[in-house]
């Protein structure tokens, strides 16, 4: 018996019913895909704001630095490291840094500050310093400092004033220096805005008597998903160097935990939605059953076994499901891709608060091929479950009763 031909004919015969059933599946898929992309998108936002604003995807330090961030735990960026990094295509760019503490002194005010030696060409876009410049100009290749706006106001510093730094350098050498303030940036985190002093990396190295050593190299990848791979490669090729290679979530586990906790609640929501649309699908299948009761009765009366009828229904439903799935994916995919590339801007109070936190006030949509498959499978399972009742009814059907109505 040619189920496929028969099922196709059945589906065509009652286009309306077929379409309505397909629609409910389409909707399930569409809803699931858009929901999940929004949820995953928000995690992307969190990761982005952490990774892209400062930490980077991966960092290289001297072994032991992250647990003991002293100026003595520095390392040399030798040829081997440079060659290895150059050879990895997934790396977008790297930012070398010298980070330590110092006392800033202006007049008779002293304040502890965080000194960050950077390569301005790289860091200006990495940490978005360009967009955060409030006064003056960014660092260029002459000696100077870029300071946070709250720090500037506490110390009463304007552009072209002199900032004095005093601290302890490599191997205990005294670190001291004078730096003209070139510019003032407004950093989103009030805490950092009150503490950060950016210097040219050469100036920072000189200040702390470091020669060419660095405290860290921040690595930005082209794609969030390459982190594991690149980390592994770096670890393998550089295992003789006395360095540690850490992913952002190893450096900031709290953020990852927050995302995981959030993910749990997102999944709960997703399953709730599945449940609801599941009922919708069940409803349409139920309707189909009632409508075609007589039809099935006739078929059984004419000699078709109940099991065959059931199989026919399964084949029909599978086709409807596949078409519904495809329709759902075809419609959601372009939308998701579009909003993935053009995040939805948010407005109003919500946006303001986000900006205060250094978050871009946008709604991000994530694009992962994996979950297309996941959601499709889930919808298939839901359809299968929804079919149970109708199928059992068909199997138990009594032709005479069915025809009589």
């Amino acid at each position: 018996m040619n189920y496929i031909q028969l099922s196709k004919r059945n589906l065509f015969r009652n286009k309306r019913r077929t379409l309505i059933t397909m629609a409910s599946i389409f909707f399930a898929v569409f809803l699931a895909l858009t929901m999940r992309s929004m949820q995953l998108g928000s995690y992307d936002s969190i990761i982005d704001s952490v990774v892209n604003n400062y930490v980077g995807h991966i960092q290289i330090h001297k072994k032991g630095y992250w647990d003991d961030k002293t100026i003595d735990n520095v390392f040399d960026i030798n040829d081997k490291i440079t060659t290895v990094i150059d050879s990895i295509e997934n790396i977008d760019f790297i930012s070398p840094r010298v980070e330590s503490f110092a006392l800033a002194s202006v007049g008779n005010k002293t304040k502890g500050v965080a000194v960050v030696g950077i390569d301005p060409k790289i860091e200006n876009s990495f940490s978005k310093l360009k967009t955060r410049l409030a006064k003056g100009e960014l660092l260029q290749h002459k000696k100077g400092a870029l300071i946070g706006s709250r720090l500037a106001s506490y110390l009463n510093l304007k552009v072209n004033d002199t900032l004095i730094l005093l601290g302890q350098g490599y191997q205990g050498y005294t670190a001291s220096g004078m730096f003209p303030v070139r510019g003032i940036v407004k950093l989103p985190s009030p805490d950092l805005d009150n503490k950060f002093v950016y210097l040219n990396i050469e100036d920072a190295q000189q200040l702390y008597s470091l020669d060419n050593k660095l405290t860290s190299i921040a690595i930005k990848l082209k794609d969030n998903d390459d982190i594991e791979l690149v980390q592994k490669t770096l670890i393998n090729t550089l295992k003789d160097e006395n360095i540690e290679i850490m992913k952002w979530n190893e450096m900031m586990p709290e953020i990852e935990q927050q995302i995981q906790a959030d993910n749990v609640s997102s999944l709960v929501l997703l399953w709730l939605l599945y449940l609801i649309v599941g009922f919708g699908i069940f409803g349409t299948l139920l309707m189909m059953l009632t409508e075609r009761r007589r039809e099935f009765g006739v078929m059984i009366a004419l000699g078709m076994k109940n099991t065959r009828v059931a199989t026919l229904v399964i084949v029909e439903t599978i086709q409807i499901t596949i078409y519904g799935l495809l329709a759902g994916i075809i419609v959601s995919l372009p939308l998701i891709i579009y909003y993935h590339l053009n995040p939805i801007p948010l407005t109003g109070e919500m946006a303001e608060t986000m900006e205060r936190y250094g978050w871009e006030p946008v709604l991000r949509i994530a694009l992962y091929p994996d979950y297309f498959i996941n959601q499709s499978l889930t919808v298939l399972i839901i359809v299968a479950i929804a079919l149970i009742y109708p199928l059992t009814t068909i199997l138990k059907m009594n032709a005479v009763k069915a025809i009589k109505g």
């Binding site: 003595d72 006392l103 002194s105 008779n108 002293t110 502890g112 004095i164 730094l165 005093l166 302890q168 191997q171 205990g172 050498y173 005294t174 001291s176 220096g177 004078m178 008597s209």
Partner: protein
């Protein structure tokens, strides 16, 4: 019978008291011998770490227990820095930035010039007599020298982090040959040792002191006294910010 007992008790108590006084006296004598009323010192400090070794030489003037000025004389990149202590405050002058900076509370627990001697130690060293109660707990022979062992406990009001400090003072010469610093769990946190007793100016003192942090076995700081002059004539006004700049 009763009278005899009470007299005995009084004698015992008196001698205990004597003992306590003795302990305090011993510490006082040792402190005065080491510091004098005022002094001028030239010293070399070697900071030893597993990865490196650094040497600094400096001159220092001090008076009473409250004032001191220190001038760094080598190496070249550190030369010219000076430190002023007046009672409870410490300032530093750095010629590279032409600035006086008052050391804030946050820097107190940092090592002075990167050594194992903290800024706090520098400020508090004057209080061995007044901030503690002292008890003679025994004697020991250290490097062939017979020493009193005195246990010092900070008074309730004293702003001292140690729970207990033990000092070995030589019986003949009142030299501080060893100190041990304990935390409240009775664990040793830091110790220092005095060696190389020589004649310096008008007295013999240990001329090499080693400071050893207990939790970092590869670390130590060695201070060698190269020259010392006691009871120099120096006015209070010598210890001023302006002078920090002028010293050579």
């Amino acid at each position: 019978m009763n009278r005899k007992i009470s007299i005995l008790i009084v004698i015992v108590l008196y001698s205990c008291n004597l003992f306590a006084q003795d302990a305090k006296e011993i510490i006082k004598k040792a402190d005065e011998k080491w510091q004098g009323m005022s002094n001028y010192m030239e010293m070399k400090m070697t900071i030893v770490r597993p990865e490196y070794k650094r040497e600094i030489t400096f001159k220092s003037w001090s008076k009473d227990r409250d004032y001191s000025i220190t001038l760094i004389t080598s190496p070249a990149r550190e030369k010219g820095q000076s430190f002023l202590k007046r009672k409870n405050d410490m300032w530093t002058w750095n010629p590279n930035i032409s600035r006086y900076i008052k050391l804030p509370t946050a820097m107190m627990s940092q090592g002075w010039m990167g050594s194992d001697f903290t800024n706090d130690d520098v400020l508090k060293e004057s209080s061995v007599v007044t901030d503690y109660t002292h008890k003679l707990i025994g004697s020991e022979i250290l490097d062939g020298i017979d020493c009193y062992i005195i246990e010092m406990t900070p008074t309730e009001e004293a702003a001292i982090v140690w729970e207990k400090v033990k000092k070995w003072i030589s019986k003949d010469a009142y030299d501080q040959l060893k100190s041990e610093y304990y935390d409240e769990d009775d664990e040793l946190v830091k110790s220092d040792r005095g060696y190389d007793i020589k004649i310096m100016d008008d007295r013999t003192i240990p001329t090499r002191i080693e400071i050893l942090p207990a939790d970092k076995p590869g670390n130590k700081t060695i201070v060698n006294i190269l020259k010392i002059k006691y009871n120099i004539k120096v006015k209070d006004s010598f210890f001023s910010q302006q002078n920090m700049k002028r010293l050579k």
